[in-house]
Symmetry: D2
Subunit: 395 residues, 4 copies
């Protein structure tokens, strides 16, 4: 058996499909708590995490990203979170790697370890302390022989550069992906400049994940592409957007929307949205195409089905999904059978069934970001009085 191809070779030769969103999917399944969003499920309920990995593999994901989101020590101990004390950063990152590796080997998947932004940075504690948080995770990733590293979900290019710097030392391929939109990072750096700085920091693949819907994200990616080209930087690109429509989100993305995180249902993208996303992403030249929060296995399957020709195959999961609604030919009702076909679904404008709700929302826009006192994190539980003060501030 030939050795597995690495990330960079796969990107050079074709297209790599990422996985979807773990925190949102596992929150709905009952294993992740919205608020802290930390991944202790890898120890507490490994069967649930393993099953989700498998579903993405089956849907066409080429990458099993270990479920290490927000698994830095400072986050695991933030605002009353007991995961640090109970499970330790090392314990969680290690368990996550082993689960991802196990499922990756059930197919031809690559396995990656991931870093994200830290409370340490948000609280303004400086480069050294921030990089220490990253290093604790990277050490575990290297021990587990991950195929590559992903630094993702960073709102500030400064912290991202520190993360890439730490990752690059491992000698592994480094993917760098910020949670920004076309307007750039929280400190006013443009999207294009963010792309260039990630590449210059040493990332092999650069792009955007989370915070915005596929189409807003691709608007940002076009800016990154233009800036990279202008600088003559030859790196690959990645997009892993939300599966929620966010035309109304401001600079900070869906976090600001009043529906975040428990009322986002009407914004969930259809599989047909994902066909369009995959095609547009590919046409821009992006070769690492995946998803973030809200992306369920069927969304990834739609990406894989759209790129069937480019990949030369359909995912296993398509045995239960004939392309473009072909399975409806087997429906008992004739008017549903009449919906079997691309033309019908490509043009549908789905209704919400919610006549008392508007199409768009005014986002919160507090305008506070790293360095602002309201963003100083702490280990104690937030008190009810603190919540009341914030609610007052909101008004």
């Amino acid at each position: 058996m030939a050795p597995k191809k690495g990330l960079m070779q796969r990107l050079d030769e074709g297209v790599v499909i990422g996985d979807g969103g773990f925190v949102f999917a596992l929150e709905k399944r009952g294993y992740v708590k919205a608020g802290p969003w930390t991944p202790e499920a890898v120890i507490e309920h490994p069967e649930a995490v393993r099953q989700l990995h498998r579903e993405f593999l089956r849907a066409g994901s080429d990458v099993m990203q270990a479920f290490t989101f927000y698994a830095s020590d400072d986050k695991l101990a933030n605002r009353g979170n007991e995961s640090s004390a109970k499970h330790t950063c090392r314990g969680i990152n290690d368990a996550a790697c082993r689960l991802a590796r196990e499922v990756a080997e059930e197919g031809d998947g690559l396995m990656a370890g991931g870093l994200s932004q830290t409370p340490t940075y948000l609280s303004g504690l400086g480069k050294e302390k921030t990089q220490k948080e990253f290093q604790n995770q990277i050490d575990v990733f290297v021990e587990n022989k991950v195929d590559f590293l992903i630094a993702e979900y960073f709102e500030h290019i400064e912290e991202m550069e520190w993360a890439v710097e730490a990752c690059v030392k491992s000698g592994l391929p480094v993917v760098a992906s910020m949670c920004i939109g076309p307007d750039g990072d929280m400190h006013g750096v443009t999207a294009g400049e963010c792309g260039v700085r990630m590449a210059k920091a040493g990332a092999h693949v650069v792009g955007i994940n989370c915070h915005f819907d596929p189409f807003v994200t691709l608007d940002g990616m076009r800016k990154i592409k233009t800036a990279l080209d202008a600088e003559g930087l030859k790196v690959h690109m990645i997009a892993q957007p939300l599966a929620f429509h966010t035309p109304d989100a401001g600079k900070q993305g869906f976090i600001d929307l009043p529906e975040f995180p428990f009322g986002l249902e009407p914004r969930i993208c259809t599989r047909w949205d994902m066909h369009r996303y995959a095609r547009e992403a590919y046409d821009i030249g992006i070769r690492f195409i995946g998803g973030c929060c809200g992306f369920e296995p069927y969304h990834i399957r739609a990406v894989a089905e759209e790129l069937e020709k480019e990949r030369g195959c359909l995912p296993k999961g398509s045995e239960k999904h004939e392309q473009w609604a072909g399975g409806l030919k087997m429906h008992t009702k004739p008017w549903v059978r009449a919906r079997a076909g691309r033309d019908y679904w490509e043009n549908i404008k789905p209704s919400s069934g919610r006549p008392y709700c508007a199409a768009m929302s005014k986002p919160d826009a507090w305008g506070v970001t790293a360095g602002h006192s309201d963003l100083k994190q702490k280990t104690m539980h937030t008190t009810d009085d603190e919540i009341k003060a914030l609610q007052q501030k909101k008004k």
Copy 2:
């Protein structure tokens, strides 16, 4: 250890929470094909079915319903479906029972076997042949010692009466639940009359499942309650609605909506909708409260959280979900922490992020039902020419 309490005792003493929808959840996870909607996954991918059962158990479900939807022989062989040939009706129903039993025993769950409407009836082949289809499933359920039987997803009271008649012979408690709305069955029988006829046929619990959203369904249940009271019939009631908003669906429910089944995302209910549903259902006097298509584990958890006082406990899954968004107190962003609280979420009117889509759709209304030639089913694949003819008819 005391023997497990049976369904009827539980209903008499308190409230029983059903599970959610298997076909829609597993379609999104990659294990069920939309169109035929048959449950061969119980043999092909038992780990996926087992995991979903576990998630519902963890979310608070008291009932593990074996995944036997549309698992009658005639449906498993309809329009090119190879599940009958590959797995047989007996094989599928048996595997489904064993999976449900396994998970039920991980908790204090009851296990049930389910029947649904048949192509045999839709094709007008008469009572004897239709009941033969039911009996084949019931035999397996009895062998597997299910705790009770559910006859659900029937559009015609006539076929439902045949099903109840067959079920009652088993000596097990029988739950009967039609997929109707406030306007009654497809042959023009009112909702109230349907309720009465189910009870008179011998069902111990009667009600409505699928086809309509929680609130339309409860409108139908109020009519059933009134009719049962008027007849002095003392039976329990069940509601297991969709988790999709359907104020615009006609008599036949969400099947008729242009978004069915691949564009329903904007209609998905929030967890807060489910709080309201659970409360209203309980107040009507319904004691078997669950969900159907679209109900994910977190929807069932919301039902269980709403009924915490009545049940005397929270579900296990609530360890990852502080009631009414309490977990948001642990969020890093202050404006999100400000959203921790009941008042915020109880009143949210979530936007769709889809300004080019309307709130409501005009449903298809072909007006054909059991007995109509367009509803005659067949074992061969539907041809492309037949699909084209239907699409023409649609216009």
Copy 3:
């Protein structure tokens, strides 16, 4: 020259087109105050009232209804209204009749005097006092030789019966029209029963005006038709609905909608809505077809254009409006010329341009009506404290 045909003959022989809404149109033009809604403009700005009459005549109205809405003494003196003191009931009703007569004679129009519900009734002061208010207006109408009387905008069948009784004594044809929807009057009398009681009280034409949109109104008219037929009552029918979409209005109609009266713009009907309204009204058998609040001249013109064949002519105003958008053939832009034609406009689903607004509103539903202490009227201005108390009550 043959003498003018009377109302009843015209109704027997064909269809009579009413006029549109004066209070809303003149409010927007600057001559009527929203709140009191009284018609002192007939004295203060006769040219404005005359012009609006002319526009309706030109648009196809067969009836010039004198602008005497809410021109009873008790209303002209209610809550600080100075119109009674300044102009007197007699002065206003007389001026209104003369203006309507003047314009009616510019064409082949009939001229009518109108009565509406009174503060006297709402305040529970009894039949005698209420009828005295009516009689004061009727006296002026008779002196001015109106062609017929209209008792319209009554929410309670009881007060309507008192009005019809008073009108009938004049010997003139009497049209009776309540501002109710399919759910009937404010005291719980069904729409059908209201229709029957108006007819039995002696009205020659019965129906519905104001409060609901054309299609909700016609739902109410179908109930009236059924009830009249069941009683074998041979009277003509009238419909004069709003030109605002009100699918979400409760029993009391658009008054209850949060947008009333200064935010109704997005609800305004198009001319194409009015084509459909006119056709459906005619098909129900209604022969007096007009409009109420929101109906501008072009809405009436659309009614007249839809009924061109039935009336044997187009209105004068159609010299500036080729049917079904024919005038667009003269547009300079080719893509606008492409919109010339019935198919385009008959099927348009017009967008609001308001993505932050919902499609439907929750109406106020205070549930207070005639006899309730909150409805006692008074002659003094409402104080700011009273307003604050009401606003508190609203919350």
Copy 4:
């Protein structure tokens, strides 16, 4: 009596309120034909035009703009229009001036003559022929001693410069206003550059009218302001936007929206929108604030009420409109009285009552403009075959 102050002095000293839209208002009243949109009503129905002038004067307009829109010879004879033959350009412009003068003298109003873009330009016939069309109108304006000239509704800065050049020769103050949005003119000239070029061509007041809603228009005005400031150009600014919400309109504005011109109702702005518009316009530094298509007298009154302090007075029409819904204190229903107040109306998000319609539309975007063969105009009627060919092209 002191002589009337001129436009420039008024702008220097305070704020000048323009009037609203004549073609749309008079189309609804029955006197203007949509498609050609020419103003022969000044001869055919002077009473209707005079009444509308009066309503605007009463609402607070300081300017009576003669109704000479599209009254150049080439437009009056375009595509079968008989107004040129019947009434002549001179006849129409002259009658329009006399009506405007008559009403202006009823108050302290200024009177202006207006020019708009020409079929001659759109057909590519060159500067000389285009300016000849302008000159024919200017001659009549000068004879009628208009107080100033308005060159408005130009889509191309080139044609606008030709118009300003012709106007300036008259020695009168010249207002120049293009129907562009923030994206600039149809030939790709930016909004800022358009502003600068109008000023450099000699216009004393420059700005934007028509085509976009108030807020999109003000976005364009901000760009013009910035560009004028950058060039150190000291001219006044004007804004006269639509009263239709157009967030979804492309470069060519509401003409492109599928609802134009017969389905725009749901987009109509409320009076409260106009308060916000007036305030924002004033704050930008715009001193000539009026409206275009869709602006009814009550919209202008709202502008005047918002600017009460700056103008030192309320308009006459406010005798029928207590600011911020004060008149509702006189309403008979208590829940409507509770709506009397600024807070309520300033925050209302009005519903459309149209749950089957979306919030936004995809505009037509044919991308043809001056010089394109599809824009060559002609004097003959458009044939049905030509319309069919266009409809085919649309698909």
